[in-house]
Symmetry: C2
Subunit: 312 residues, 2 copies
């Protein structure tokens, strides 16, 4: 039924090309109950690259006991030799960086919090202490020739603090750039943002000297807002969008669906807007269905479910 759909109708106010930063293997699998065998992860990442994704965040070099889902980073990375995509990894600290660099990784990400509450909960540090911890990580990575992405979590709302003042975002963003981050990803970790708020944060960052070219957006679909927020970010000039294949990380049966924006839902919109991504929706959907079978439950992506009806 989807021959010729969606109809491509470009909007001249939007970018003509977008890079999708695929986070399914890392942010997605990290939040799934099921621990996936390393061979399946490697195959998943190979399939994502074959579908045309040029950036696939592969894993996290966190302490294995903290995130058992990603405890196999050392095994996984050598299995990805020759995969035709950028394969950044998350590193929580200097020890994680050293493990990643030893394996030849040359693209890393650090995960900062905009709010004190989440910095305390996630990193057991104040925001400033966590930035101090990241300083040698970023500088060492860059000395080793690696590029560095800085994640900013809780940019719009926080479960303990409620709405997050825009000034907090610009302050942490400036600090991360000053540390040497190449790109910043603005995370709506609890999914509460709306399009005007997105535009306001981007405008404040612009006024603080952080141009759209250095920014990515990372929306969660907890309240169904992720795609509308993405549209607002594209309109502002952002051209890098984080998404998770099949909506991995959010369970369709969970009491609250807290997953990432599904890459397929994003791609349906971008295809309809005539925005080039290089990604094949059919191959990507097939990959997400394959992964859903490995996880033993259907994909929460509406596009995946519409294109490839699965048993539930």
């Amino acid at each position: 039924m989807t021959d010729g759909l969606p109809m491509a109708v470009p909007d001249p106010a939007l970018p003509s090309r977008v890079r999708i930063h695929e986070v399914g293997p890392r942010d997605g699998l990290q939040n799934e109950k099921t621990v996936v065998p390393v061979e399946v992860k490697a195959e998943f990442i190979r399939r994502l690259a074959a579908a045309g994704l040029t950036t696939v965040e592969a894993t996290s070099f966190v302490r294995p006991e903290w995130v058992p889902q990603l405890a196999d980073a050392e095994q996984l990375m050598p299995m990805l030799d020759g995969v035709p995509a950028r394969l950044p990894v998350l590193v929580p600290n200097r020890r994680g960086l050293d493990r990643a660099l030893a394996l030849g990784v040359r693209e890393i990400a650090v995960f900062a919090s905009v709010t004190e509450s989440f910095a305390k909960a996630n990193l057991n540090r104040t925001v400033d202490e966590s930035l101090e911890m990241f300083a040698p990580v970023v500088s060492t990575a860059r000395e080793a020739g690696a590029t560095v992405r800085g994640y900013l979590s809780m940019c719009f709302g926080d479960p303990w603090e409620g709405a997050v003042p825009v000034e907090r975002v610009t302050r942490v963003a400036r600090r991360l750039l000053d540390l040497g981050c190449d790109e910043l990803s603005l995370g709506d970790t609890i999914g509460v943002a709306t399009p005007g708020h997105v535009t306001a944060v981007l405008a404040a960052l612009g006024a603080a000297g952080v141009p759209a070219e250095r920014l990515a957006v990372h929306f969660h679909d907890t309240y169904g807002q992720a795609l509308a927020n993405t549209l607002a970010a594209l309109r502002y000039g952002v051209t890098t969008v984080d998404a998770s294949a099949g909506g991995l990380g959010g369970c369709p049966y969970a009491k609250s669906a807290t997953g990432n924006l599904a890459t397929e839902d994003l791609l349906w919109m971008l295809n309809g807007l005539g925005i080039d991504t290089g990604v094949d929706l059919g191959l990507l959907t097939a990959t997400s269905v394959w992964m859903a079978e490995r996880l033993g439950r259907p994909s929460p992506s509406r596009t995946v479910r519409a294109l490839s009806p699965q048993e539930s």
Copy 2:
């Protein structure tokens, strides 16, 4: 966790007020497997009005054997006396209109198709034959002092025909206005539209003499696009948006989720944009949870699920 969320950040390019045309009791329940007792329907509509919804499409005067879910229209309408909201009803033909007028209904809707395939499948007529059938319905309704909404289904894509040329939409829209319709609701019946396509259809209608003030948009979330499309329509100047409380009409466990845009997901965005609707999100969510309990399954609305975790 949602105190102060979403943070209200108005966008001057968007309307300051939106009227939500609630379709849950009609379009929603019509597409649910479970047949709801008439007393529950009446209570549902009363609760929706109490939550602040000013327009609640109550039922359809279709032949009872066609849509068993709505076979109780004659019983329902008298139970709604005194409900403080506009309560339009769908009428498929002259017989349905007479039944509605006899009960004192003064606001009706007719359901036209933009495509020949769906006109044939749904009405067993060509598009032109269906418009001829509606002509006396609309004129009689107006002579009786009723206002008339014209639904245009399959405005963006059609399961048999694929992408729908914009000219088809403008042609049917003009005809419906010429028949005497007061308002037109543009339906993306299979949920395939994307924001640029929405803007293109609205612009073509504007060029054909159909202003945004006469239009409503009616999006389905089959591919997760409904809210992004709504944002595009608001940016164009549309101020009437159809939505279904709790996403009624789409089952979260269905093989393909084909439901209407959930009113709560819409309201989260509108609240975040500082757009006035008069609707209380807490009361509305409680109503959808109550209705989901009557239907024996959780609401597919992401906002309902986030605000009010339900057993699944």
